[in-house]
Structure formats: C-alpha cells, structure tokens
C-alpha cells in the first residue's frame, strides 16, 4: 500500500510537471518567436536608424533573461544559450546602427527560436 502510494504520488507529480512545463515553455518560446518575427519587420521599416528598436529589443532580452533560469531546469543549456548569445549580438548591432549585421542576426535568431519551439514542443516528430 505504501509502495502504491509512493508510485501514485510520483505519477501525479510527473503529470503535473509535464503539463506545467508544456504550457509554460510553449508560452515563453512562442512569445519570443512572435516578438522576433515582429521586430524583423520593424528592422525593414527602420533601415536608416535601427537604434530606435533598441528599447524594444532590450525588453525581449530582459524577458528572455527572466525566463531562462526556469528553462535551464528543463532544457539543454547549450540550446538556450544560443538564444541569449544571439540576442546579445543583436543588441550590440542595433546600438551601433549596424543594419546589415543586425538583420542577419535577426534571421539567425528567428531560426533558433523556430528550431527551439520545434525541439522543445510536444510533437509527434519529437516523440518518434
């Protein structure tokens, strides 16, 4: 009976954790993915002075930094640091008004976030 209870508790905790993780992670990843897609269009519109996008980008970076700790508990740190590194580079290019590098970095970031939502999501491809 004691063993059954232990296993029931473990199973319940696993289901709770899996559900919490699925919801939280997809929210975080989707948010960053959406924001990066939006900002991509804004870079096109502000080709001459991309520094105006710095506050918005900083906001995304802060959001990511605040959520990264939680994600690190569940995902490979290398995958997560790829986003952080890319965001840092993008911040630097934006601050220096370096459009060419910035737009290239946004492309990279889009690729990474898209890959992450693919890798971290609960999909048939990932299961198989």
């Amino acid at each position: 009976m004691k063993k059954q209870l232990t296993v029931a508790i473990i199973a319940a905790l696993l289901i709770m954790l899996a559900t919490f993780e699925a919801i939280t992670v997809s929210n975080i990843i989707n948010y960053v993915d959406d924001e990066v897609n939006k900002i991509y269009q804004e870079y096109e519109l502000n080709k001459n002075d991309i520094t105006v996008l710095y506050p918005k980008l900083d906001e995304i970076d802060e959001y990511w930094a605040s959520k990264e700790w939680w994600l690190c508990l569940m995902f490979n740190h290398k995958d997560l640091s790829a986003v952080t590194d890319s965001l840092n580079r993008l911040l630097a290019y934006t601050k220096n008004n370096d459009y060419d590098n910035a737009i290239a970095e946004v492309e990279v970031l889009r690729g990474i976030t898209e890959k992450n939502s693919c890798n971290m999501g609960f999909t048939l491809q990932n299961i198989l």
Binding site: V7, I10, N76
Partner: protein, 238 residues
C-alpha cells in the same frame, strides 16, 4: 564545475538507490525480462546527466521516475493477470522430461547442450539419466526434479522423526556483544564469559564469532583458533 559534478553524482546515486529500493530486492539472476530491461536502462540513464553539465538533471530524473511507474504498472499487471504474466515474462519451458531432452524446447530457448549441462552441474547433477524433469523458469533459473532413486534422502522417506533445527543468532562478533540478540536469547555477558572460559576465552574481546540456537547449542570461535561447539543447556523460544 567539479562541485557541480560531485553534487550531480550524489543526487543521481541517491535517486537510483531510492528507485531500486522501491522496485524490490530481486537479484539480477532472479529478474524477470521486463525488470532486467528497466534495470539496464536505469543504469544508462543515470550516467547521462551525471557528467554532461549542459543537460539539466531533469533529463535523467524524469525518465527514471517514469520507468519506475512503468515497472510498477507491469508488476501490478503481472500479479493480476495470467495473460499479462505470459506476455511480460514468458512461461516456464520443460527442457528434460521423462523421455529425455526435449530438443524443440531447447532450441526454443536458444540453448545448447553445453548450456543445459552447465545449468545442471550448477544444480549438482552430472548425469542426465538421474533427471525426471528440468524446467527453465521465466527468470532463466533452472529447476530440477530428479528421479526418485536419485533424489536426496529425506527423513520423511526414511520414515524417521527428527527435530526441527533452530535458527542460530549471533550474540557476539569481533569482540563486541550484540545487545539486541543477547536480550532475545535471554542471556547476559556473565553467561557468555562463564560458558566460554573453559575453552580459553578470557574476555569478550577474544570472541571472533559466537552464536547460540534455541536448543542452547553454542558455536564459538577465538581469533586465530578453531571453533568450539557445545550445549549450554539454555533453551530459548525464538
């Protein structure tokens, strides 16, 4: 990084120990196929996040807990359903019957004659004509039923009455008294010394091992000396 690795190793070790304790006490050789598979996977899973610090511990812990749940479900099914037991464990196979070796079953188990002979020798049987049945159990252990004329002689077969042997308990070992057991045997240190003095024991420190059974029979051995065995006359009821 070293501290991280040390702590991760400790966490994984304690966790795996805890999970194996939940799973039960069976030895590797007594495991059913599904238990063996889970044990193999657990060993592998535990080592992955132990050394790879970029991976969160959750990558090892979550599959480990999942496997324990699966193991529990399988054990439950095995206990409740004959069909599930057959699917999960297979069924015992007769390798030798009164007519001799069952070659079809031997091949079914992917066994050779050498494997069969080795298993039989482990059981203490060297000649096939001594055997009535040899059955290979689902956990891979071999059970042997010898023909009546080769079976070990028992008191029942001899139609004689014998007393049940009693369980000896350790009252002292390596110079120390086992307080719990001397209480159980209802004896004390003075009793031990009095009993052992005639055999050259000067104090408790001289005792390598001393046991007493419920008939009052004492087995005692000094360091670097041969054992003595005698009746103390002190009967117990454990």
């Amino acid at each position: 990084m070293t501290y991280t690795l040390i702590l991760r190793s400790i966490i994984i070790y304690i966790l795996v120990l805890f999970l194996l304790r939940i799973m039960g006490k069976r030895q590797i050789g007594q495991m059913q196929p599904y238990e063996f598979v889970i044990t193999l996977i657990i060993a592998d899973l535990a080592t992955v996040p132990m050394a790879e610090t970029a991976l969160p511990l959750a990558h090892g812990i979550i599959p480990l807990f999942t496997l324990v749940c699966i193991h529990f479900i399988f054990t439950f099914l095995e206990q409740k359903s004959d069909w599930a037991r057959k699917v999960l464990n297979g069924k015992p196979v007769i390798l030798v019957d009164p007519d001799g070796i069952n070659y079809t079953n031997l091949k079914l188990c992917n066994m050779t004659f050498n494997d069969l002979q080795e298993g039989l020798r482990n059981q203490g049987y060297f000649n096939l004509e001594e055997l009535l049945y040899v059955i290979i159990q689902t956990n891979g252990m071999m059970s042997v039923l010898p023909r009546a004329q080769y079976a070990p002689l028992t008191a029942n077969a001899m139609k004689i009455t014998v007393d049940n042997s009693s369980l000896p308990i350790i009252v002292a070992s390596e110079g120390k008294i086992n307080l719990e057991n001397i209480k159980r045997a209802n004896i004390d240190e003075i009793f031990i010394i009095t009993q052992l003095k005639p055999y050259g024991f000067k104090s408790i420190k001289d005792i390598l091992l001393m046991t007493i059974n419920s008939d009052g029979k004492i087995y005692a051995q000094k360091y670097n000396s041969s054992f003595v065995s005698f009746d103390s006359g002190k009967k117990g009821d454990w």
